[in-house]
């Protein structure tokens, strides 16, 4: 197990490097929220989810919804690492004609099942998939990554209500709780705390973790899978921009990409020499 965790940690580090390089190349996209979510996305794709990069539409796969769609780079580098498409494609992020759109787009990117980018809609789609899979008697699970600012959308709570009502225990929401949104602190813009209490009140199984501690992420995902009768929310305390001190905990790096001056320092932080 120790080895497995170390393995995932190293993967996450490499994915962070890929995010920084990709965003530096595109000069457009979201840095902070991609870096805060990547440990969870990494654990999902390399530890938890059943999926098949050689057959993106494989019926037996678990489903993934990046509800906070602006963190698309985190998803794209992971899909590339899995082999869904060549890593070179990352360099085309957000360009005209590229299959890597600014926000996840199921029409063109292998491994992307739903379109996201308008915040607050992902959990409903995830629950819809969970309900459908259950109807077919399937064991497949559905995972959704949400932002804490995103929880301000009322639709999230409509989805939370519905998922608990229908006992969607094949659904797991991971809340990337980095405490920041665009205009500043989530607590100052529009307070959503306590996130855990809210999900509990809606009837969810809630697990609180440090969203950068790979061991805790893996344990939480295992617990979520074991829990029956209710959907699980993993409320993960995270740091926006995690891994690169230049970007950490700064709302100003929400939608700003690393520039030429920042790139070497960012890569150095991530232990990257190439």
């Amino acid at each position: 197990m120790k080895e497995k965790i170390a393995d995932l940690e190293e993967k996450a580090r490499r994915l962070r490097v890929a995010i920084v390089k990709t965003l530096h190349k595109s000069q457009s996209g979201h840095t902070g929220g991609s870096l805060s979510a990547i440990d969870m996305v990494c654990a999902l794709y390399f530890h938890k989810m059943r999926h098949n990069p050689a057959d993106p539409a494989w019926d037996g796969r678990d489903r993934f919804v990046l509800s906070k769609g602006h963190a698309a780079p985190a998803l794209y580098v992971t899909l590339a690492e899995c082999g869904y498409f060549p890593a070179e494609d990352l360099m085309m992020l957000r360009r005209l004609g590229s299959h890597l759109q600014g926000h996840p787009d199921s029409k063109g990117t292998p491994g992307v099942d739903v379109c996201t980018g308008s915040l607050g809609q992902g959990l409903s789609m995830a629950n819809g998939m969970a309900l459908g899979l259950k109807l077919d008697g399937k064991e497949n699970r559905v995972y959704a990554v949400l932002g804490d600012g995103e929880l301000q959308e009322g639709q999230i709570w409509e989805a939370a209500m519905a998922a608990a009502h229908y006992k969607s225990d094949n659904l797991c929401a991971l809340i990337d709780s980095n405490g920041l949104q665009i205009d500043g602190d989530v607590s100052k813009v529009m307070n959503v705390s306590s996130i855990s209490d809210k999900f509990k009140a809606f009837g969810w199984n809630v697990i609180e973790i440090d969203g950068h501690d790979m061991r805790q992420i893996v344990d939480a995902l295992d617990q979520a899978e074991a829990h029956k009768g209710a959907p699980t929310a993993i409320v993960a305390k995270t740091v926006k921009g995690k891994g690169v001190h230049l970007f950490e905990n700064k709302a100003s790096y929400h939608g700003v990409t690393p520039n030429d001056d920042e790139l070497p320092e960012a890569l150095r932080c991530l232990g990257c020499c190439d």
């Binding site: 996209g29 005209l96 980018g117």
Partner: protein, 310 residues
Amino acid sequence: MIATRDAYGEALAELGGENDKIVVLDADLSGSTKTGVFAKKFPNRFFNMGIAEANMVGTAAGLAAVGKVPFLSTFAIFAAGRGWEQIRQSVAYPKANVKIVATHGGVTVGEDGGSHQSVEDVAIMRAIPNMTVIVPADGEETKGAIRAAAAYKGPVYVRLGRNKVPSVFPAGHKFEIGKGVVVVPGTDLTFITTGLMTAAAVTAAEKLKAEGISARVLHIGTIKPLDKEVVLQAAEETGAIVTAEEHSVVGGLGGAVAEFLAETCPTLMKRVGVYDRFGTSGKSDELLKYFGLNAETLIEEAREIVSRKK
């Protein structure tokens, strides 16, 4: 060159000093929509509603119901999209005095891609009774439009862009709701345009002149109510119309002009806009070219329509 959203920020901050009834709401995009300029000056009259557009619309309607003049802003796709039914029921139906100023309209949002490129908002706002729909051509007109919206009693939707756009109107240009403006006179055809396409049409008209084609440019800053008089005049006097907008050809300015002329004065017509497609990621200027939203397309369409005239 200034972005219409920058002009909005300035106008709002000015108006805030003149009228203490003005309140402003935003949904976690105050830096981008430029309502932050007002927020800094009048913090107690600014409400950041968080990422919750539907609630923001309803709250604005409530503020209006107790005598405030609320301006609410977010990106066009989230204002007109997320808030559509709330706008219909809580704002337009009761004729609430709410001003929806949506920024980042059209394809020039660029890299964020199709999910963020609003090419339907004018159509869906235009379909709502009681709604006034304004799409300014430049910064100067935006300032006038915001002033006019504040002075007008009732629901208004103003659609702005992200990028800097060329100036069409001189400083001090007076904006009047519901009035079209002939920017360039002409006799062979009329470009009826809105938003950033008006500047493109002025360029096209200049180039066409060298070929001996006299193109009128009629700027329609208010899509609804449409200035029927100037549109009818253009149809009768030039006999050919090319509309252009950074919006779907379905239901926007082109739709409005076509609907009106079909019933009053059927005229040779061509609509330039986004042809019933979603946007895609790319740089703004690349996208304008990709969707044919430029002077070159207007020139081609003008030649074509003039050749079809007799």
